[in-house]
Structures are given as C-alpha cells and as structure tokens.
C-alpha cells in the first residue's frame, strides 16, 4: 500500500501538516482570511440563542458573527472537518465508538466522569478561545505563520495552561 493511500490508518504527521498549511492558500485567496475554527461557535451559538432570545443580536459582538459570507464559510469548514474525518476513518478502518481508551489511562472512561469532563473542557476551551480571539487554528497555525506577536503570546499560554492542567488533573502514564 502506498504511503499516502486513503485506506491507511495513519499518515505521516509531516504530510498532514503540509496539507493543513497549504489550506492557507484558498483561505487567503478565495476568502480573504486565515484558517480558523473557534469563531464559528459564536455564529452557531448566536443563531441558536437568537431563537429564544432575539435580543442577543443587539450585542455588537454577536451581530458581527452572524452576518456575511465569511462567518458561514467557517461554520461550513468545521462541518467539513467532521465529514472529512468520518470518510477518512471509514476508509482507514479507524472508525471509533464510545470514548477513547486513553481516558481510562489518564482519568476515567466511565460516562459519569468522562461526560462532565468533556462538557467542562468544551466550555473552558471556547471561553478561552473567545477571550483570546482565536484557537489552535486561528492563533496557532495561522497567527504564528503571520508572525503575529499576540498569537505567539496566546499559543505559549495555551501550551502552558494545557501542560499545567495535565500535571494537575491526570495520571502520568
């Protein structure tokens, strides 16, 4: 089987990194923006919230995430991520069920522990990403590639926070 066969379970991380880096070309040339993921959460959450609380669209921050093609491009991007990963995992024989067995090693794979952790992790992740105005994609992959000083600070803080949390909360394996 060739190294980059679609049916392989894993590709070299360097190939994947190059593919992700090359996605900046259509992002800059077609969409006039850099790769990012976390602002799509504001677009989706704001849209859902506006069904119950139309007043949320009066918040300028929410309003500017609900209008225009660029916001919906990013929502489509993250939906595409799920589709691409689904097809890739079916082709590679790596489709998953339940939770990762890594959780049993570092914390607990029991739903009563893992599900609240997943919720808290997701909540903190997006609170943090929105405060910092970017995530692993927007600040990490795109920000550093643009030599942004703020992104260098955010990514350093991100790895610091992540490593500290792993030390404090998880079993060393």
């Amino acid at each position: 089987m060739s190294t980059f066969s679609l049916r392989r379970a894993a590709w070299s991380p360097y190939v994947a990194g190059v593919v992700i880096g090359l996605l900046q070309i259509p992002a800059f040339l077609l969409m006039n923006t850099a790769l990012g993921a976390s602002s799509s959460y504001v677009t989706v959450a704001g849209t859902l919230a506006s069904l119950f609380d139309p007043g949320i669209t009066r918040i300028e921050y929410v309003a500017k995430h609900l209008e225009g093609a660029k916001n919906w491009w990013q929502v489509a991007l993250v939906v595409g991520i799920a589709l691409g990963a689904m097809i890739s995992s079916r082709l590679g024989g790596t489709a998953r069920t339940g939770v990762s067995r890594a959780w049993g090693r570092v914390a607990s794979a029991r739903p009563s522990v893992r599900f609240p952790m997943a919720f808290a992790g997701g909540f903190l992740m997006l609170m943090g990403a929105r405060i910092a105005d970017g995530c692993t994609s927007g600040h990490g992959i795109s920000g550093i590639a643009q030599l942004s000083v703020g992104s260098l600070i955010a990514v350093t803080a991100m790895f610091t926070g992540g490593i500290l949390a792993a030390l404090l909360f998880f079993r060393r394996i």
């Binding site: 360097y14 800059f28 990963a85 339940g98 808290a120 955010a154 991100m158 992540g162 500290l164 909360f169």
Partner: protein, 208 residues
C-alpha cells in the same frame, strides 16, 4: 461572494482539513493529552509543520501583495484566554477544530464537548460587553515580528521556517512518529499501559 459559494468552499476545505486531521491521528484524545503530558509529540509535529508550511505559503503570497490578517495584539486577553483554552484542550482532549473530527470518527463524548463549547461561546457572547473594557482594551495594534523589526515579511518568515524544519528533523530523530501511534493509532502506546511489566505488583498478579 454569496453565502452559498462561501459554504461550498468551506465544506470542501473542511473536508480536506478533517481528512488530514484524521489520517494524522492528531484529533485523538490520547495524542492531544499525550502532548500535554510531554510523552507524545505528534501534535507538535503537525502543528509546527503546518506553521512552517504557512510561513512559506504566506511568503509567496506576500510577494504578490496579498494582504495579511494578523489579529490585534491584546497581551492580557491573549494570556488569560490562551491559558483557559489550554486547560480546556487538556480536559476535553480536543481543540475547537479537532472536536469535529472526533465526532466524524465516532467518539461519543465529543458531542458533549461540542455542546460545552457552544455554551462557552454563548456565555462569552453575553459577557463580552462587560469583559471588553477589562480584557480587551489597550490594544497595541496588530503587532507582528516583521513589523517590529522593520523587515520585509520573508526576511523573518523564511529563516523561522528553516529553524522549524531543523527542529522537526531533530524531533523526529528523537521520537519517530511511528513509535508514537500505538497499535490502534490512538496514541495509547504499550509503554503507556498500566505498569504491570515495568513494576510487577505481586499482590495483583494476573493469572491468565
């Protein structure tokens, strides 16, 4: 550009992004948490490769006059937000983008991470008018390394890309990626199994 066109471009780009995330295994909680425990370096390898590639791509684009989009420098927000983001990534075992790849691959807890993320984004949206004057004031503009040095983009980007490539070569020599996958490609390697082999616990010897 129409919203429909933007959505089609987004879906196509996202498909490639998700495919690369899945094939590289970086979406696996075992690999993300493993990186934060400094025992698995696949995440760093992909991350730095994507940055190095981006630096080269943007060097070419900048020479053709394509406009960059660096984010405003907000030191306090970048620091506090970045820390919270990092804690969240470890606890979730995902990033805002890779959680969608986890959903695509079939992990059930990723749906809960996604709901937590949407509620986090909603909570921030309601709090933003109050947080803005505290965390997001005193922007020093959109600072970039090339701007601070008064150098053209390529003069900083190309050497930085080369430094990253050399670092990656050294990292790969130290920790070959194939040894980090684990036999089920989820970042759980045999040395990450419970310490029955390295430190046999006689009281709990397993009789097959």
């Amino acid at each position: 550009m129409s919203v429909v066109t933007a959505i089609l471009i987004g879906l196509a780009m996202g498909f490639v992004f998700g495919f690369a995330l899945e094939k590289s295994r970086v979406f696996e909680p075992g690999i993300i948490v493993g990186q934060m425990q400094m025992r698995n370096f696949i995440m760093l390898k992909i991350f730095l490769t994507a940055v190095a590639t981006g630096l080269m791509v943007l060097t070419v684009l900048s020479l053709y006059g394509v406009k960059m989009h660096p984010k405003p420098t907000l030191a306090m927000a970048d620091l506090v937000g970045g820390m919270l983001l990092g804690v969240g990534i470890t606890v979730a075992g995902a990033c805002p983008g890779t959680v969608l790849a986890q959903i695509g691959a079939g992990y059930k807890d990723a749906w809960i991470t996604l709901v937590g993320g949407l509620l986090g984004a909603m909570t921030f949206s309601y709090a933003e008018p109050a947080l803005k004057p505290v965390l997001m004031s005193a922007s020093s503009g959109k600072l970039t390394l090339d701007g601070l040095l008064g150098a053209p983009f390529w003069l900083v980007a190309v050497p930085l890309a080369l430094v990253l490539i050399v670092s990656l070569l050294a990292l790969e020599r130290w920790r070959p990626w194939r040894n980090e996958l684990g036999e089920r490609a989820d970042g759980v390697t045999s040395e990450a199994l419970p310490p029955t082999e390295s430190a046999p616990d006689l009281a709990h010897t397993v009789h097959p």
